[in-house]
Amino acid sequence: MSETRINKLRLELRRGVLILSVLASSKEPQYGYSLRKHLSNAGIEIDEGTLYPLIRRLAEQELLSSEWKNTDGRERRYYVLSDKGRVVLEQLTEDWQHLNKSISALLEKS
């Protein structure tokens, strides 16, 4: 299989997990770049063209709340997990753990 096709499959695999990663990383207020660094430090590389629109979508779905703040002489939009986001994160975490366990078992068998 071509590298391009494999990359597409990787992207598909990561898509859902990225939402979980962003929600989990937003327990503390984060602005776009700080969130990207935070994820990168955790070993999850995500380009800015994907991450920033994703944060906005999560905010539109009211999973993240946001406010503009001036820090270091620059205005930045800070995002933090909302109450609704917290509930969703709990449910998704549970689903992820269950899924992870099942898939690990499947992968071990094969």
Binding site: Y31, G32, Y33, S34, D47, E48, G49, T50, Y52, P53, R56, R74, E75, R76, R77
Partner: protein, 313 residues
């Protein structure tokens, strides 16, 4: 930093007015953070700006990432959209053919080349409007959710086609629509044709066969309704197939009956005087043979339909 502002402006131009300012403001904050980070890694400001903006790519791409417009037709509704377009286009073509025939009869001139080209021109003329109407309808109705999901909400397993290989032929359906529409026009020429043109017609229904005008009208109308209904279906169901067979049987019996009671169509008296006697005899006798041939074809079709019917169970 002027380059950043120009980039943001270009992105904003690809966004709806009410979203542009907010997205632009946030995008600028993010870009400046990225530039600062690169600058801290020893890249000059200009180099950093170039690098970051090149990574974002074309302003339209960035705008689409931040604000994806709803598709005119959602992927899930696409098969239904195609079906509606194809069937509407087929109906439009039938309309174009009937309208051309109507116009030709009205002007008392049947020109074969015009008969081919005019429906095509009329069809193409209306096709763009059809495309626009269907697409906009799907867009506006689809805004509130999937149209297919709503249409198929009452679907159940027992509505599966009895035999999926029994597909309705669209070309047959269109032929039926055109034939029946044309027959109705011919039967009722005196209602829509101008008096002058009507008087010049060579043929008329024989006074003794006037009742056939009404019988054939009823038969054509039911056949036309059946054909229009079939346009909305993909597969034959037992009910629609039986109705189709009855339709053919009725026309076949009517053709035999007319053949036995011919002449159904007569030459008008005023024109009779100018025609040789053998022509009149030929028209009188050939009617029966023509009607019997039509009946024979319909009975053969019916035979094959009946033969296939058990497979539909």
């Amino acid at each position: 930093m002027e380059l950043v502002d120009r980039y943001i402006l270009a992105v904003k131009q690809s966004l709806p007015a009410d979203k542009g300012d907010e997205i632009g403001r946030e995008l600028k904050a993010n870009i400046l953070d990225e530039v600062d980070a690169l600058n801290a890694e020893n890249a000059s400001i200009d180099e950093a700006v170039n690098q970051v903006l090149n990574k974002y790519g074309h302003p339209d791409t960035t705008a689409n990432r931040f604000y994806s417009r709803p598709a005119l037709v959602s992927g899930i509704d696409m098969p239904l959209y195609k079906k509606v377009l194809v069937h509407s286009a087929a109906f439009l073509f039938a309309y174009a053919v009937v309208r051309t025939l109507f116009s030709m009869i009205q002007h008392d001139s049947i020109n074969p080349i015009r008969l081919l080209l005019q429906p095509l021109g009329l069809f193409i003329e209306n096709l763009s409007l059809l495309f626009l109407i269907v697409t906009l309808s799907f867009y506006y109705i689809g805004k509130n959710g999937s149209i297919s999901a709503w249409l198929y909400r009452n679907w159940s397993l027992n509505k599966l086609p009895a035999n999926p290989s029994f597909k309705i032929s669209n070309s047959d359906t269109i032929t039926d629509i055109i034939t029946n529409s044309f027959l109705l026009l011919i039967l009722w020429t005196h209602l829509w044709m101008s008096e002058d043109v009507y008087q010049q017609q060579i043929f008329a229904i024989a006074p003794a066969a006037e009742h056939w005008r009404y019988i054939l009208t009823v038969l054509s109308l039911q056949s036309l309704i059946q054909a229009l209904y079939r346009l909305t279906q993909i597969h034959w169901q037992r009910g629609s197939y039986i109705a189709y067979m009855i339709d053919h049987a009725l026309f076949a019996v009517a053709a035999v009956w007319m053949a036995l009671t011919a002449p159904i169509v007569v030459m008008k008296d005023t024109i009779n005087e100018n025609l040789p006697a053998f022509v009149l005899t030929f028209i009188d006798t050939s009617q029966s043979y023509f009607l019997l041939s039509v009946a024979l074809i319909l009975f053969v079709l019916l035979y094959f339909q009946i033969k296939k019917f058990p497979d539909l169970k």
